[in-house]
C-alpha cells in the first residue's frame, strides 16, 4: 500500500528535522506505541499495540533511520512482528521551507506491506485503518512541534 501527503508545520526546518531523527520524539507519535528502546543513533526498537477491525496485536518493531540528509530528507524503515503477522514499512520525509517564515512544508510518503493474519482478516479494513494511523502520526508530529 502506498500513502502520501503533505503538511505545513509552524516550526523551522532544522527543528522539524531534529525531531524526525530522534527516536524518542518521533517514536512517541507512532500509533499505539508503548515503549521505545534506542539501540544506536540509527536503530531503535518500539513496542506498539495496533488494532484493525476486531483484531489487535502487539508488535515488536525494529526501525532504522536509513537516510538522513539534514535538514531536508529522511527515510525510516521499519519491520514489525506480531504472532502470525508482519509489517514492512518505509517512510520518506522531504522538508522544504514554507511560505511563511519559520514554517516547514513536509511531504511524506509511506509504503506499507502487511503480511499474515492481519492482512488476511483485516484486508477490507486495512487500507482505511493504515491511512488513518499514518495521518494521526503526522498530525502528532506537527502538534508536538507546534506546542
Amino acid at each position: 500500500m502506498e500513502f502520501s501527503g503533505q503538511t505545513t508545520i509552524k516550526a523551522p526546518r532544522e527543528r522539524v528535522f531534529a525531531f524526525l531523527i530522534d527516536p524518542n520524539l518521533v517514536g512517541r507519535c507512532g500509533p499505539g506505541v508503548e515503549s521505545i528502546e534506542v539501540i544506536d543513533d540509527r536503530h531503535f526498537k518500539a513496542k506498539a499495540k495496533v488494532g484493525v477491525g476486531f483484531i489487535s496485536a502487539r508488535f515488536v518493531i525494529n526501525m532504522e533511520l536509513a537516510e538522513a540528509d539534514a535538514p531536508s530528507h529522511a527515510v525510516i524503515k521499519a519491520r514489525g512482528q506480531a504472532p502470525g503477522t508482519a509489517v514492512d514499512a518505509t517512510g520518506t520525509m522531504d522538508l522544504a521551507p514554507g511560505d511563511e517564515p519559520d514554517t516547514t512544508v513536509m511531504k511524506w510518503g509511506a509504503n506499507v506491506i502487511i503480511s499474515g493474519m492481519m492482512a488476511s482478516v483485516g484486508a477490507r479494513m486495512i487500507e482505511g485503518t493504515a491511512n488513518k494511523m499514518i495521518a494521526q502520526t503526522f498530525d502528532c508530529i506537527r502538534a508536538k512541534l507546534e506546542e
Partner: protein, 799 residues
C-alpha cells in the same frame, strides 16, 4: 420379532447425543494435566528463516516448552499419491515438516510452537518469539508460476512444476480437433475453495513414559492410515507403539483425510515435556491457512464435433494449483480423479488431457468433497452447453445424441480408465442416462421454459435454467488399480469388518471406516440386522480407534457403503455359516437341512425345531459342547476388495433469477434426479445429497478463496469467506432412478459426493443461460453481484 430395516428411513442411532449436547468432539476432551500448544505461523507467503529467537518466550507465564523445527528430528510428511505412473513421469516432491526449518512457502506455514498450561498462555507467548525473516518474491497463480522467469519455490521443481501428466490419445484427439466442423474453445477457472467443516481440526498427543506408547486423538477421517503414516514415514516410532483415535468428527469433506504436521507435533511435544497430554485445536482463521483447500484449476478446453451434434473430440489443458508444498494425496486429485473421467457420461471417441501440477505460495490443495470429479464435471458440462450454443442445438438434445447408450456397458472410456491400472479392469459398469435427464426436465417444466422466462422478465428478472448430466466414479477402489504406481497410494484400498455375537446375543461390529456425520452407526446396523436377523437395538457399531477395530482405509470417496459394508456383509455371511453349523449340532440335524429365516435357524420342514442366532451365540460362545473341530465363539472378520468402482449418475437442474440492476443471482429452484443405486437408508441418502448440492451451489454463486499477489489470503476468516446461509437456498427437490450397482451385494453406489459433483455445473449453466440473451458466453465463478453486474454493464455497452 425382528423387523428388517434395510432400505427404511430409520432415525439415526447417533442423534440422541448430538441433539442433547452430549457429543464428544476433539476439543471437548479434557484430561488431567493437559497442556496446550500454539503454533507460530509465517506471515510471509515466501521467506527464508535466518534465525528464530525463542528465549523470551520460554520465560513467559505458564510456558512449559518452546520448539522450533530444528528441535524435531522427524521426517517431512509423506506424499502418498504421486501422479504419473505408467508414463513414468517424475514428481518433484516437497512436503511440510513438523515445523519449517529453513524456509516457508505459504502464509501460515508453522515455524515454532509453545506448550503452556493454558491455551491463552501458549498464544500469549507466541508474541515473544522473534523470527529473523528474509522475505522473498511470491507467485500465487498456477499458470503464471510455470512461465519463464517466475519466482521459483523449490530447487527440485524447475518452473514450479510438480508433474506433467497426460491421459488419452494425443494424436487421435489432435486429428479430431483439426478435422472438426466446429471447435469451441474456452478458458475456465475452477476457483479455490475453503472446505469449512463446522468443526476445525485438532489433535491431542499423549506419551506414556511407563509403556513408551503414544495415544493421539485426532479429528480425522483416517485414524488407521494416520497411524501408519505417522509411524512408518514421519516419526520412525514403531507402529504398535501408537494408537490413534478419532472422537466425534464435526464434518470433514475431505480435509481430515490427510497427515498434518500438527499430528506429529503433539506427539513430539508430549514426549518432550515428559508425558503430559498436549492439545492443539486450530482457530478458524488458523484453519483457513493450515488445513487444505480444494479445487483451484485453470483449464483450457476445446470441444470438437459436427453441426449435427456429434461430439468427436475433447482436448483439455489444466494447471492445477497444489500450494507451497504437497498435501498427502494432492497430486492424485487433478490426475486420476479428474482426467480419467473427463468425458463424463458421453461417448466421445477422442479425449486428451494434460495436467500440470504446480507449486505456488499458497496453502496446499487436496481432496475436497468430490475431489477432481466436480472439476471434471464442470469442464465437460460447460463444454456441452458451449457447444450446443455454438451450433444452435437444444442442450438436452445435444446430450441425448452423445450419451453412452444403455446397452454399451461395460464401457471403457477413452480417458484410459481401462488401461490405467496395473492390470485392474476399471470400466463404467452400468448406467442409463437419458431417463434420468428426461425425468428431471419433465419435473422442472423444461418444455415451458420460454414462458417461465417471459414471466420472470415481466418482473424485471433474467431467468436461467441450467443442468448437468453427471457421472461420478466412487466407491474407491480396487486395490489393484489404486495401488498401481501413479494411480493411487501405492497401497491398497480394501475394507474390513469384524462381527462378534456375544453370549447375551448383543452384537458388536467393528469396522475400519470412520464416520464424520454420515450416520454409519445407523446404516451399518441396518445392514447387519438385515443380514443376521438381530434387532438393531442389539447391535453396536464401533469405529475410529486403531485399538479394537480392524485396519481400514477410512471414509472418503463415497466408499463406506459399497466397500466397507460389503466387508461387513462378508463377515456376517461367515457368522451365518458358523451359526448354521452349530445349529445343526444343537438340533441334531445335518447342516444341509438347516434353513435360515432372519434370526431363526430351523430344520427343513420343521419350523418349530429351531434356534435363534442369539441362542446359538449363547451356546457356542460358552463353548461347552462344540462339535469336533469347531472353535468357540461367533466371531468373524472379513476383508473386501471391490472389483470395480461404482458409477452414480443423474441430472441436476437449477433455475436462477438475476436482478439486472444489481447483478444479484438468486437460486429459485433446485431439482435433482440421482441414481445412487439401492439405498440402505433413503433419509440419510437425501441428507447427503442436500449437503453436497449446497456445497456445489456455494462454489457457483458465492465461495472463493482469494489471495493477493503477495500471497496473503484475503478471504482469511468467516467474515470474508462467503459461507452459504440458510436464506440463500430454496428447498431442494429430489427424485431418483435406481440402477443397482453390480459390484456389491447391496447394489449401492455411494452418495457422499454426488451432490457436490453435479450442482456446480448445473448452477453455472443456469447463470449463463440467464445471461445468454445479453451475448455473455462464459463467466468464471463465483457469480457474485459484482461479477455479474460488471458483465451485464460491459455487455450492454458493447451492444
Amino acid at each position: 420379532m425382528t423387523i428388517d430395516m434395510l432400505g427404511e428411513r430409520v432415525k439415526r442411532t447417533e442423534d440422541p447425543k448430538f441433539i442433547t449436547g452430549k457429543g464428544r468432539y476433539l476439543d471437548d476432551i479434557q484430561m488431567p494435566g493437559m497442556t496446550h500448544i500454539a503454533i507460530l505461523r509465517s506471515p510471509y507467503a515466501h521467506a527464508n528463516i535466518r534465525s528464530i529467537d525463542t528465549s523470551a518466550a520460554k520465560s513467559m507465564p505458564g510456558v512449559i516448552a518452546v520448539f522450533t523445527g530444528a528441535d524435531i528430528p522427524y521426517n517431512p510428511l509423506p506424499m502418498a499419491w504421486p501422479a504419473g505412473g505408467v508414463a513414468g513421469i517424475r514428481n518433484n516432491i516437497n512436503t511440510p515438516r513438523t515445523l519449517a526449518t529453513d524456509s516457508v512457502k505459504w502464509s501460515g506455514e508453522g515455524v515454532a510452537a509453545v506448550v503452556a498450561e493454558t491455551a491463552e498462555q501458549a498464544h500469549d507467548a507466541l508474541e515473544a518469539i522473534t523470527v529473523d525473516w528474509e522475505p522473498l518474491p511470491t507467485v500465487v497463480d498456477a499458470e503464471k508460476a510455470t512461465q519463464p522467469g517466475a519466482v521459483q519455490l523449490h530447487e527440485n521443481a524447475p518452473n514450479n512444476i510438480v508433474f506433467e501428466w497426460t491421459v488419452g490419445d494425443k494424436a487421435g484427439t489432435d486429428a479430431a480437433v483439426d478435422a472438426a466442423e466446429v471447435v469451441v474453445r474456452q478458458r475456465i477457472v475452477n476457483q479455490r475453495l475453503i472446505p469449512n467443516p463446522m468443526e476445525v481440526r485438532g489433535d491431542i498427543g499423549w506419551y506414556n513414559p511407563g509403556t513408551d506408547e503414544y495415544t493421539v486423538w485426532m479429528s480425522s477421517q483416517t485414524p488407521h492410515i494416520q497411524r501408519l503414516l505417522l509411524t512408518a514415514f514421519v516419526t520412525g516410532i514403531p507402529e504398535h507403539k501408537v494408537r490413534c483415535i478419532s472422537p466425534d468428527v464435526g464434518g470433514a469433506f475431505g480435509t481430515k483425510i490427510f497427515c498434518y504436521a500438527d499430528m506429529a507435533l503433539v506427539m513430539f511435544a508430549s514426549k518432550a515435556i515428559g508425558g503430559r497430554p498436549v492439545k492443539w485445536v486450530e482457530g478458524r482463521r488458523e484453519s483457513y491457512q493450515s488445513t487444505i483447500h480444494g479445487r483451484d484449476h485453470i483449464t483450457y478446453l476445446e470441444i470438437a464435433g459436427k453441426r449435427d451434434g456429434t461430439i468427436t473430440g475433447l482436448r483439455v489443458k489444466t494447471f492445477a494449483n497444489l500450494g507451497g508444498r504437497l498435501s498427502t494425496i494432492g497430486p492424485g486429485i487433478p490426475t486420476t480423479l479428474y482426467g480419467r473421467v473427463l468425458s463424463g457420461c458421453y461417448k466421445i471417441p477422442n479425449v486428451y488431457c494434460e495436467v500440470t501440477g504446480v507449486y505456488t505460495n499458497t496453502t496446499f490443495v487436496d481432496a475436497y468433497r468430490g475431489a477432481g470429479r466436480p472439476e471434471a464435471t464442470y469442464v465437460i458440462e460447460r463444454a456441452m452447453d458451449l457447444f450446443a450454443a455454438e451450433i444452435g442445438m437444444d442442450r438436452a438434445e445435444l446430450r441425448r445424441r452423445n450419451f453412452i447408450a444403455p446397452d454399451a456397458f461395460p464401457y471403457d472410456n477413452p480417458s484410459g480408465l481401462g488401461t490405467a491400472s496395473g492390470g485392474a479392469k476399471i470400466y463404467i459398469d452400468s448406467g442409463n442416462y437419458e431417463p434420468a435427464m428426461d425425468m428431471a426436465l419433465a419435473a422442472v417444466g423444461y418444455a415451458d421454459l420460454a414462458a417461465t422466462k417471459a414471466e420472470a422478465a415481466s418482473r424485471g428478472k433474467l431467468l436461467g435454467l441450467g443442468f448437468s448430466t453427471y457421472i461420478e466414479v466412487c466407491g474407491v477402489a480396487p486395490s489393484k488399480w489404486i495401488g498401481a504406481v501413479g494411480e493411487g497410494w501405492g497401497a491398497a484400498m480394501w475394507e474390513s469388518a469384524n462381527i462378534r455375537v456375544h453370549l447375551t446375543g448383543k452384537t458388536v461390529v467393528t469396522v475400519g471406516t470412520q464416520p464424520q456425520g454420515q450416520g454409519h452407526e445407523t446404516t451399518y446396523a441396518q445392514v447387519i440386522s438385515h443380514e443376521l436377523g438381530i434387532p438393531m437395538d442389539d447391535i453396536v457399531i464401533q469405529h475410529s480407534d486403531t485399538l479394537g477395530t480392524p485396519f481400514g482405509y477410512g471414509s472418503y470417496g463415497s466408499r463406506t457403503s459399497s466397500v466397507g459394508m460389503t466387508a461387513a456383509i462378508k463377515a456376517a455371511t461367515k457368522i451365518r455359516e458358523k451359526a448354521r453349523k452349530f445349529a445343526a449340532h444343537m438340533l441334531e440335524a445335518s447342516v444341509d437341512d438347516i434353513e435360515i429365516d432372519g434370526p431363526n435357524y430351523f430344520v427343513k420342514g420343521s419350523p418349530d425345531k429351531k434356534k435363534t442366532i442369539q441362542e446359538i451365540a449363547f451356546a457356542l460362545d460358552l463353548g461347552f459342547d462344540p462339535p469336533e473341530g469347531m472353535e468357540p465363539y461367533l466371531d468373524e472378520t472379513a476383508y473386501w476388495d471391490t472389483p470395480n468402482c461404482t458409477w452414480p449418475f443423474g441430472t441436476h437442474v437449477a433455475i436462477v433469477e438475476i436482478d439486472k440492476e444489481t447483478g444479484q443471482v438468486d437460486l429459485v429452484r433446485y431439482l435433482a434426479v440421482d441414481d445412487v443405486g439401492k439405498k440402505i437408508n433413503p433419509m440419510i441418502v437425501d441428507g447427503q445429497l442436500h449437503g453436497g448440492i449446497a456445497q456445489g451451489v456455494g462454489q457457483a454463486l458465492w465461495e472463493g478463496a482469494v489471495y493477493s499477489d503477495d500471497g496473503q489470503l484475503l478471504s482469511g476468516s468467516m467474515l470474508d469467506y462467503a459461507m452459504p446461509r440458510a436464506s440463500w437456498f430454496p428447498d431442494i427437490e429430489l427424485h431418483e432412478t435406481v440402477t443397482p450397482s453390480p459390484v456389491n451385494p447391496l447394489g449401492v453406489k455411494g452418495v457422499g459426493e454426488a451432490g457436490a459433483i453435479a450442482s456446480t455445473a448445473a448452477v453455472s449453466n443456469a447463470v449463463m443461460d440467464a445471461l445468454a440473451p445479453l451475448g455473455i458466453r462464459h463467466l468464471d465463478m463465483p457469480y457474485t453481484p459484482q461479477t455479474v453486474w460488471h458483465a451485464i454493464q460491459t455487455a450492454e455497452v458493447s451492444r
